[in-house]
């Protein structure tokens, strides 16, 4: 199991570790993406930008939002959160488990990059999610951190992906990143 908030040099993916059966605080990662057929504007924009840094092999880019929620929430409560707070059920889908297959999330081989705020950086969206969870009548989480996942399909090498991360996606001053080939 990969640790989500510690040292981040590993190339393994952050995995959802929710388990509603344990009584203590659990950490879940919710991923929200636009459904197939709906416009993924950040993905389109990024695809258009990549040739400017000399990375031309990408065929498709998808962008999804990540929420790392730590708290005393059960799996079914996380379901309520995903459906009622974190995603727009008309245009978006969410998953609590990376292996969950759905047309909104890529299945075939691709590169996956996750960009998270560094722990000491203020995360306003995370703070707002915390409050919103409590407003929904659910137990207020101990903490929420937000991030973004980018998925690249096409002929791209690791060094090209690292270039994209450095030049377009993350600022090491405030971000930490993970890159994985799936």
């Amino acid at each position: 199991m990969t640790k989500t908030n510690g040292k981040d040099q590993g190339n393994l993916l952050i995995q959802s570790r929710g388990n509603g059966k344990t009584a203590g605080a659990a950490t879940y990662v919710v991923e929200v993406a636009s459904k197939l057929g709906f416009n993924d504007a950040p993905g389109i924009a990024l695809l258009g930008q990549m040739p400017s840094i000399g990375v031309c092999g990408a065929r498709e880019v998808r962008v999804s939002s990540l929420y790392e929620i730590t708290g005393r929430l059960s799996h079914s409560q996380m379901d309520i959160l995903g459906r009622g707070l974190l995603c727009d059920p008309i245009t978006q889908e969410f998953r609590l488990d990376l292996s969950a297959s759905s047309s909104a999330f890529l299945i075939g081989p691709h590169w996956r990059v996750e960009v998270w705020f560094r722990p000491q950086v203020t995360d306003p969206v995370g703070e707002s999610v915390c409050k919103a969870v409590a407003d929904m009548g659910l137990p207020e989480p101990d903490g929420v951190r937000t991030g973004t996942a980018y998925q690249f399909v096409g002929r791209i090498t690791q060094s090209q992906i690292e270039k994209v991360v450095a030049k377009l996606l993350a600022n090491p001053v405030i971000h930490r990143t993970k890159v994985a080939q799936l």
């Binding site: 197939l36 258009g48 400017s52 498709e60 950086v121 995360d123 377009l168 600022n171």
Partner: protein, 824 residues
Amino acid sequence: MSETPAAQACAGSWTQPWLAAPLKALQELNARHGWSLCAAELRAIQAHFTKIQREPTRAEVETIAQSWSEHCKHKTFTSPVALREGKSTRRYKNLLAETIMAATRKLKAPWCLSVFQDNAGVVAFGERWALAYKVETHNHPCAIEPYGGAETGVGGVIRDVLGVGLGAKPVLNTDVFCFCPPDYAGELPGNVLHPRRTLTCVVAGVRDYGNRMGIPTASGAIFFDEDYRFNPLVFVGTVGMMPADAVISAILPGDAVVAVGGRTGRDGLHGATFSSASLAKDADQAAVQIGHAIMEKRVLDALLKARGQRLYRALTDCGAGGFSSAVGEMAARVQGKGGARVDLANALLKTSDLEPWEIWLSEAQERMVLAVPPKNLKALGELMALEGVEVCALGEFTSTGRIDVRYKDERLVDMDLDFIHEGLPKSELAALWEPPKQDPCALPRADGARCAEILRWAVANLNVCSREWVIRQYDHEVQGGTVVKPLQGLHHDGPGDACVIWPLAVTEDPSDFRGFAVSHGINPALGRLDPYAMAMACVDEALANVACVGADISQAALLDNFCWGSPKDPRQLGALAKAAEGCRDAALGFETPFISGKDSLNNEYVEPKGRANPIPGTLLISAVAPIQDIRKAVTMDLKGPRNALYLIGRASGAIGGSLLAEFLELSGGALPEFDAKAARDAYRRLGLAANKGLVLSAHNLSEGGLAVAASEMGFSGDTGVEIDLDKLPKARDAAGEAVLLFAESPGRILVEVATACEKDFLKALRGILVSRIGMTLANPVLRVIGLDGRILLEEGLRDLKARWQKTLPEKLLVALPGQNRGRK
């Protein structure tokens, strides 16, 4: 992160003896902690503590460092300056007070309610209301983390307006940027972000903060030049409205020191002193913050309610320097000798591991400090709780003349206010101005084909082209008062001169049609040749722009923002002083006072080998002017065929700093003479004529001169233009047709008048140099009749518009829909 000086400083305890330390040791300490204090300042601190016979605490040195920083004190601009120009030397005891502020003092405008003292300048808006306007820069943070830097910049200037007097409600945000061209292909050091990324992220930051706060972002400008590649400039501004009786605030001894809003964390330590430093290779990462617009919106709503009930006596924003700056400034305003006593153990914290001095200095965002009469504390707490805003009482204001800060029993700061606010040692700075050498360049002669080529190049120039991609990301409609929008014309895509706001959301009186117009003037290209002329031209551009929409410039007010290189370089300082003199003379010429200003110095990138790359000296002038009846406001698009075109002002043959000079690759070039008084009279009369409904459209001639302005008016209204160059009033030296078409002489406005109104229009502008230079056409072309009476050029306006529109998206590589294959 742990390698940064700030982090080391956090970890190590304070055991530094000051009193006996040699200067070298102090300088080492200064560098390690990032205080940006100079040798004289370090010695002054040492002398002060030697006098009172004790060692300073860390919090005390930090407090002094931020109070004396460029950000808080504007120490360069208020220093004595000796300006050497040729063989003569002019001496200023206080550069700012004797130039820009002196002009305001001399003009004594009765409608200026608060100038150069509070967080923003305040002018009257009718009898019951007042307008507060503030523009400031957030350059260094935006260079390091553009999105967060832009957000916190916007958040900071909103809080400035919220923290003026008893608080004003923000009704408009403005943004002006100076960037390197986004398609820059040269080398950049590893820690400098590419301008394309800086631009997109800064726009996103401004967009997100303004849109989330529900404040329209409707006025701005972008200037591109490669010399901004290391130091992008980001100017953000806010206009707020407040009742006229909320302008003045007073603090009494015994009032509680209350912090409201966000909690204090370890974010953004040393932002104030950071502004005194130039960007070196290892910039201090602790100076970066992320904005929280929703929190600020809650603070704003709660404070405006509390203002209505008069629950507090004064407030200020917790910006650079955090509590130390906010409490320190307020303590100096307390009636009597002033002073404050604070226990930081009362502060609400994000994390419990903060050192006491960090609480005092933290620049965590979205916080305000209030002076609250103790009897109101309970009511204030209840009201804030309703909006979900946290409140903590830190201590009280006193009349001891001292600032006394503790953390439980530990004494952090115990100092004379006098020393903090007046102890800064001043020494005369040397400034030198040498005008650049003028190459005697022959004025270009060009035939029709060449003129058409220049025109096609000019409309697609990065500094002329459409900013629609940026503007459309901003919500410029929220609050429902944006009468004249940033993009104007038949298809809502023409480049407006100024925006007009009808602040109905604040006045709530639909029978009151008064509004105000806001615009900007910026011209660093001219500043390279002559900063004095740049200042004149910027003031002219800002005022001409507001006059174009029909505002009353006799009650306009100006704001200045200087961004310069290192003032330690006498040439840089000399140019700065010349620009300040230009501001003074322009203000006096136009009879328009400056009400607020800001400066950001040390905008230079020092290469590892020590070579400094300063930005071009950049002056942003922002103007705000009332408009009597927003229903009479004028936009810049031509309204239809067979109307007369009038030109106000005269073209000279001087093309220094113009687009034409850039096209012809002339580095120097003569500068146009400018008569501010004549321009003032013309703009005033134009405003009056617009108010009588005599003006169909008006557009200021800026980059690209007459040809570009006429094209923009034409393609925005889908109406053709015919101009006869022979009818143009010319200075003796303006002979060539290319010069007549593209010269950028200030003081000129192109006006469309219905033929039925021509007589009244000319009567309204009697005594002003105005000439009928052409007609509008049904066919959408720009037709220019040359001096010989033949058609010089005829260009399709739709083609020009397409060129004008596609530049920025192309350079930014903004993808068009449907390019993400496999996902349709």
